[in-house]
C-alpha cells in the first residue's frame, strides 16, 4: 500500500527534479526579461539622459574642455581654481543662497496665503482661482520683459504711480540693492502652480478636525496653527523642496532682466555680455555656469561648478528632508 506513493516519491525527484529546476529557472528568467522589457523605455531614458550625462559631468570636471577639441586631463585644477582663485564664484553663491533664504520662504508663504484666501471666498471662486493662476502660464521671457518695462525707473508705470504719491521709486533692475527684490516680485507673481497645490491640500483638510477644534474652543489662529498647518505639512515640504531646487536653478529671468536693463545690444565683435548686471547682483550660480561653459569655452570648469552645485543642493535637500521629520505629519501616521 505504501509502496506506490514511495515509488512515486522516489520517481519524482529523479529526472523531473532537474527539469523542474530548469523550468523554474527558465520561468524566472522569462519573468525577469518581461520585467526588463517593460522597464526598458525607462532604462534607456535613464541611461542616456541621466546616468551618462552625470558620469560625463563628473569626468569633464577633471578636464579642460572647450566644446570643440578633445578634453585635456587637468586633475583637480578646476576645483582648485573654483575654491581659491575664481572671485566671481562667491558673489554668485551669495546671490543664489539669497534666493534660497529669502525667496523660497516668501514664495511658500505667499502661495499659502493666496490659497487660504481663495478657500474663504464665497463668490466668484472660479474667477479668482483663474486670475491668481494665470501668471504661471506667462512664458518666463515675456513675463520678465513685462516686469522690466513696468519697473523701468524712468518710464515705468510703477515709479510713475509712486511719484504721484510723493515717493521716489528705486532704480529696480538697475540698482544692485533692488535687482534681486525686483526679480523676487516677478517670481512671486508667477507662483500659481504652488498656489494650486496648496489650494487642493487646504480643501482636503477633514472638516471634522476643525469642528472638534472649534468645540474645544480653538480660535481661528489656533485652528490654523494646530489643524491646518499639520494637515498640509507634506505639501509645505514639497513646496519648500521644489522651491529650493527652482531657486538654485534660476537662470532665464536673471538672464533676460540683466541684458535688457543694462541697455546695450549685441553688435559685431562687442562682447556685450551684461550677465549679472548691475554689478554682479543678478549673477546667479547657473548664470555664471552658463557663461563659463558656453561663452568662455570652459566647459570643464562649468562641469566642476555643476558637480559642486549637485553636492550643495544634495546637502540642502537632505537637511530639509531630515529636518522635516519634526514638523511633517502624514495622514497615514507615518513621518
Amino acid at each position: 500500500m505504501s509502496l506506490a506513493p514511495a515509488t512515486d516519491r522516489q520517481r519524482r525527484p529523479s529526472v523531473p527534479a532537474d527539469a523542474r529546476r530548469r523550468a523554474r529557472k527558465k520561468a524566472q528568467w522569462r519573468r525577469r526579461m518581461t520585467v526588463l522589457a517593460f522597464m526598458s523605455p525607462w532604462l534607456v531614458g535613464f541611461t542616456a539622459f541621466f546616468a551618462y550625462p552625470l558620469v560625463s559631468t563628473v569626468y569633464l570636471s577633471f578636464t579642460h574642455y572647450d566644446l570643440l577639441s578633445p578634453s585635456r586631463w587637468i586633475g583637480l585644477a578646476n576645483y582648485e581654481y573654483l575654491f581659491s582663485e575664481d572671485k566671481q564664484i562667491w558673489p554668485a553663491v551669495y546671490n543664489t543662497l539669497w534666493l534660497v533664504a529669502i525667496l523660497v520662504p516668501l514664495k511658500v508663504m505667499f502661495a499659502f496665503g493666496v490659497a487660504l484666501m481663495l478657500t474663504r471666498a464665497r463668490r466668484g471662486i472660479g474667477f479668482f482661482r483663474t486670475v491668481f493662476y494665470l501668471p504661471a502660464l506667462a512664458p518666463p521671457v515675456a513675463a520678465t520683459l513685462g516686469f522690466v518695462y513696468l519697473l523701468n525707473p524712468a518710464t515705468g508705470p510703477v515709479n510713475g504711480a509712486l511719484g504721484l504719491i510723493g515717493i521716489e521709486g528705486p532704480l529696480w533692475f538697475n540698482d544692485p540693492g533692488w535687482s534681486k527684490p525686483a526679480l523676487s516680485l516677478l517670481l512671486l507673481w508667477g507662483v500659481g502652480n504652488t498656489m494650486i497645490i496648496f489650494l487642493a491640500a487646504l480643501i482636503d483638510v477633514p472638516k471634522q478636525l476643525y469642528e472638534s477644534a472649534e468645540l474645544d474652543g480653538a480660535g481661528a489662529l489656533r485652528r490654523l496653527r494646530w489643524v491646518t498647518l499639520p494637515a498640509i505639512s507634506p505639501v509645505i515640504l514639497f513646496s519648500v523642496v521644489i522651491g529650493t531646487i527652482e531657486a538654485l536653478q534660476l537662470f532665464t529671468q536673471a538672464f533676460v532682466a540683466s541684458t535688457i536693463a543694462a541697455g546695450s545690444a549685441s553688435s559685431a565683435g562687442d562682447p556685450s555680455n551684461d550677465l549679472g548686471y548691475p554689478e554682479d547682483s543678478t549673477l546667479f550660480y547657473p548664470v555664471l555656469l552658463f557663461q563659463q561653459g558656453f561663452r568662455f569655452f570652459n566647459m570643464g570648469y562649468a562641469a566642476a561648478m555643476a558637480v559642486l552645485l549637485f553636492v550643495v543642493s544634495f546637502a540642502i535637500t537632505l537637511v530639509i528632508v531630515r529636518n522635516s521629520r519634526r514638523w511633517v505629519h502624514y495622514a497615514g501616521g507615518g513621518t
Partner: protein, 454 residues
C-alpha cells in the same frame, strides 16, 4: 534612507543639465590643418557650397547674395547657398558633430581663439601660400584678430571701427567749433551741451561715459588713453599700464558731474540702441561713441539729423593717439569638416581679399572694408561721415583686443570691475586693477592648462 534617496534624486536633476551638454567632442581633430590644398588649377571642380553668415536682415542678406552671385559668375559650376542668422552657438554645435558649412562667418573676433586653437576651422596658410596671398594686405589689427597662437584659421570680412558722433546743431548752438580732440575738451563740451529738465533730471546728455551702455565698453573707449591689455610677457596689464587708471579716473570725474544714479535713470528712459528710438538719433545725446554702421542707421531712420563724425578725443598728454581708435570685426573661415575645401577657399578668398567683393559688401552693409587696397578704392560710396571710420581703421594707431582661448572672458572680468568703479563702489582703483590682472591671469592659466588625454 528613503529621505536620503529623495534628496539625492532631487539634486541629481540639477547636475544632469550640464552633463547633457557634455561629451568629449570630436576626437579626430589631431590633424588641425585637415585637408591640404589641391594643386592650383585654372578651373574649379563643380560643387554646391554652403555659406553661413551672421547677418539676418533681408537687406543684408541681399547684399551678401549679390557678392556671391559675382563669385558664381566667375566660377561656373560652383553654386553657393547663403544661410543667414547663424550665431556662434550654431557654429560650435555644427563643429561638434553636425553638418558644417563650407564657409562660416562669425560676428565675434573674440572667438578666433576657440576656432583656431581647437582646429575647428582649418589653417589657411597652405592655401594662402599656394595662391601667393600675404596677410600683409590686411592692416595690423584685423591681421591680429583673425589668428591665434600662430594658426591663421580666419580672414577678416568687413570690420567695425568706433569713433565720435556729434550733433552739429547742438555744438553750434553752444558756440562750440568742431569736435573735441582731447579728453579735457570732451569733458568741457559734455558739460556745456548737457541740458536739464525743470525737475533737475537729465534732458540731453553731452556725452555719456557709462560703460556697458550701448556700445560703451573699455575695449571701444580704452584707445582714447592708449591702454594696453597685455604686457610683453603676455600677462594682463590693466594695473601695470597707467593709461587705464588715468582713463577710468577721467571717466569717473565726468560721471560724477552728472551723478551716476541720474545717468542710470536717464539711460533707462532711452530707446533701444538698434531702433529708430536710438538716443543719438532722437537728439538726447549731443556726442556719442558709436560704430561706423550708425551712419547707415541715421540715413535710414533720422535722415534730417545734422551730425558729424570724428575720431575719439584722446589723452591730453598723449595727443599723438588722435586719429586712431578701436577696431574689431567679422571673421570667416573654413570648418574642418567642410565638404569642398578647395572651392570653399576660392569663395573665402573672393569675399575677403577681392577688392570688388569687398567694396560691394562695404557699400551695401556700410561696414569698413578690410583690405588696405579696398579701403582706398574709388568705388567706395562717397560719404565723408563714413570715410572718417575708414581712416580710423587704416590708422597705425588703431588697436584691437587680444585673442585668447577663453574668448572675451578677460574683458568680462574687467567690465565687471569697471561697473563697480563707475557706481562708486571701488575705494582703491590701483589695487582693484592689480587684482583684476591677477584674476585674468589665473583664468587664462585655468583655460590653457593641462595635457591632452592620452
Amino acid at each position: 534612507m528613503r529621505r536620503t534617496t529623495t534628496a539625492l534624486a532631487a539634486a541629481l536633476f540639477l547636475a544632469v543639465g550640464v552633463g547633457a551638454c557634455g561629451g568629449t567632442g570630436d576626437d579626430d581633430n589631431s590633424d588641425k590643418a585637415a585637408g591640404a590644398p589641391a594643386a592650383k588649377t585654372g578651373k574649379l571642380e563643380p560643387a554646391d557650397l554652403t555659406l553661413w553668415v551672421g547677418f539676418s536682415a533681408p537687406r543684408e542678406l541681399r547684399v551678401f547674395k549679390g557678392a556671391v552671385k559675382e563669385f558664381e559668375k566667375l566660377n561656373p559650376g560652383v553654386t553657393v547657398h547663403v544661410v543667414g542668422g547663424i550665431s556662434d552657438d550654431k557654429l560650435i554645435a555644427a563643429s561638434r558633430g553636425g553638418k558644417t558649412p563650407d564657409v562660416a562667418q562669425s560676428f565675434s573676433a573674440d572667438n578666433s581663439g576657440a576656432f583656431c586653437g581647437s582646429g575647428a576651422w582649418i589653417d589657411l596658410k597652405p592655401y594662402m601660400e599656394r595662391d601667393g596671398i600675404s596677410d600683409e594686405i590686411f592692416p595690423p589689427a584685423p591681421r591680429s584678430y583673425t589668428q591665434f597662437d600662430g594658426t591663421r584659421c580666419a580672414l577678416p570680412m568687413l570690420a567695425d571701427t568706433f569713433g565720435l558722433y556729434y550733433n552739429e546743431d547742438m555744438l553750434k548752438k553752444a558756440g562750440l567749433d568742431g569736435p573735441p580732440k582731447t579728453a579735457s575738451e570732451l569733458t568741457e563740451y559734455a558739460k556745456k551741451l548737457t541740458v536739464k529738465n525743470p525737475d533737475g533730471s537729465l534732458k540731453v546728455v553731452g556725452f555719456n561715459p557709462v560703460m556697458g551702455w550701448y556700445t560703451n565698453t573699455p575695449a571701444s573707449m580704452g584707445p582714447m588713453f592708449g591702454g594696453t591689455w597685455v604686457d610683453d610677457s603676455g600677462k594682463s596689464s590693466l594695473g601695470s599700464d597707467p593709461a587705464w587708471a588715468k582713463f577710468l579716473t577721467w571717466q569717473k570725474d565726468l560721471i560724477d558731474f552728472y551723478g551716476y544714479d541720474n545717468l542710470v535713470k536717464f539711460q533707462a528712459g532711452l530707446g533701444d540702441e538698434y531702433s529708430a528710438s536710438n538716443a543719438f538719433e532722437k537728439e538726447r545725446l549731443a556726442m556719442h561713441l558709436d560704430g561706423e554702421w550708425r551712419t547707415a542707421f541715421i540715413a535710414d531712420e533720422a535722415p534730417d539729423l545734422n551730425y558729424g563724425t570724428a575720431p575719439l578725443p584722446v589723452d591730453d598728454d598723449n595727443r599723438d593717439l588722435y586719429g586712431g581708435g578701436y577696431t574689431t570685426g567679422n571673421i570667416a573661415g573654413i570648418p574642418k569638416r567642410a565638404e569642398h575645401k578647395d572651392q570653399a577657399w576660392a569663395l573665402l578668398k573672393f569675399l575677403t581679399t577681392d577688392d570688388r567683393a569687398m567694396v560691394m559688401l562695404s557699400n551695401g552693409l556700410r561696414n569698413v572694408p578690410t583690405t588696405e587696397s579696398s579701403a582706398k578704392s574709388p568705388d567706395l560710396k562717397p560719404d565723408p561721415k563714413f570715410e572718417t571710420f575708414v581712416k580710423i581703421f587704416s590708422s597705425d594707431k588703431t588697436t584691437t583686443t587680444p585673442v585668447t582661448a577663453a574668448g572675451s572672458a578677460y574683458q568680462e572680468l574687467f567690465n565687471g570691475f569697471v561697473n563697480k568703479w563707475q557706481a562708486g563702489r571701488v575705494d582703491d582703483l590701483q589695487a582693484g586693477l592689480d587684482d583684476i590682472d591677477k584674476q585674468i591671469d589665473a583664468q587664462l592659466a585655468n583655460v590653457e592648462g593641462g595635457q591632452d588625454v592620452p
